[in-house]
Symmetry: C2
Amino acid sequence: MKLTKISAIRRKELRQAAFEVLQQEGMAGATLEKVAAHAGASKGIVLHYFRSKQELFEHAMREANLSLSEAVNARLKQATTPRGRLEAIIEGNFEERFFRPSICHAWLSLCAEVPREPQLARIQKVIHARMRSNLMSALVHLLPRAECEAVALAITALIDGLWLRAGLQSEGLTRDMALNQMREYLKYRIPR
Amino acid sequence: MKLTKISAIRRKELRQAAFEVLQQEGMAGATLEKVAAHAGASKGIVLHYFRSKQELFEHAMREANLSLSEAVNARLKQATTPRGRLEAIIEGNFEERFFRPSICHAWLSLCAEVPREPQLARIQKVIHARMRSNLMSALVHLLPRAECEAVALAITALIDGLWLRAGLQSEGLTRDMALNQMREYLKYRIPR
DNA sequence: TCAATTATTGACCGATGGGACAATTAAATA
DNA sequence: TATTTAATTGTCCCATCGGTCAATAATTGA
């Protein structure tokens, strides 16, 4: 029995190549040929493993989300208190390897396609649902029930807004500044 | 002397058409032909008034920003207190005619191009600079100097995050919800 | 009125990119 | 080994799109 079929390997390579090209080229510039070249393959192979460009980037988005998701979950596993879980979620979302201008570019490019690509919309919906669910599981122990929903939305909006900013102004916003923003929000909104 | 040269009219019509097409089609789908058709003209005329597609959408972004800007300024003029100015800025940014899914789509599409189009980046920079300046002029009267910068960034990030969300999930986020989010932030961060 | 400028169109071009496909090579399996 | 299955490539095709251009219509202004 094969642990890793070659098709699984190729698909993963191509998903990642797609996301990396996206970082520098945007959706329109992320051509099948460039993705293939970036992965050291030919254009034909890309369409051998993915039915279309759409499908490729759909999987690229899933992959990118998965790795973010794992980072958050790893931190969540360590956390013992509700407050700790809140911090885990936030810090996971601002890890150095994720909170980088080029990565934010890529996400921006994907988000810009969401309104016109139902598949991407579904993924985006899942992402937000998980974020909300994660946050709620911590917030219910820290706040009156009625306030949790709103605070979860605020935290999500803040994170998204900071990511957006990082994507727009490469230099302007460091990881530390972003994390401080989040901590300050918590300090005022959910004092210990 | 002509008050409005025909060229000024055409250019404005085309800028607006460009932004409207952007709302439904995204940057890649917003073809010169579609923009022209939407304005009831031919493709040739678009390139007669704008050197290139880039330049057209650059002007579209400026135009869209201008109208948002005017809305905020109109409210700012009415405001008499620092707190009132803060609310003016926020409410201006969530007026019904602006805070709509399709408009948010269009902005998203423009933002996604920022990293690869220096002209758009410059405009984006100006937008954020004005936002910051507006906010600071109110905040300095409400908070210790040292905290103003951070709060201005938080407010901006919140606004951007809520806009982003509106662009991603057409249904999920109403204007009222967004405004409540902003008011809650102020309530906790800058209690009267 | 008539020349000069401006507006407007439609045809055309070159480039590009997504996708289909046949052909070739490698791998797996019996 | 022989046969089937999968991997991989390069070529080809078609559509589209940005941009150029020459020709025509409209406007202007002297």
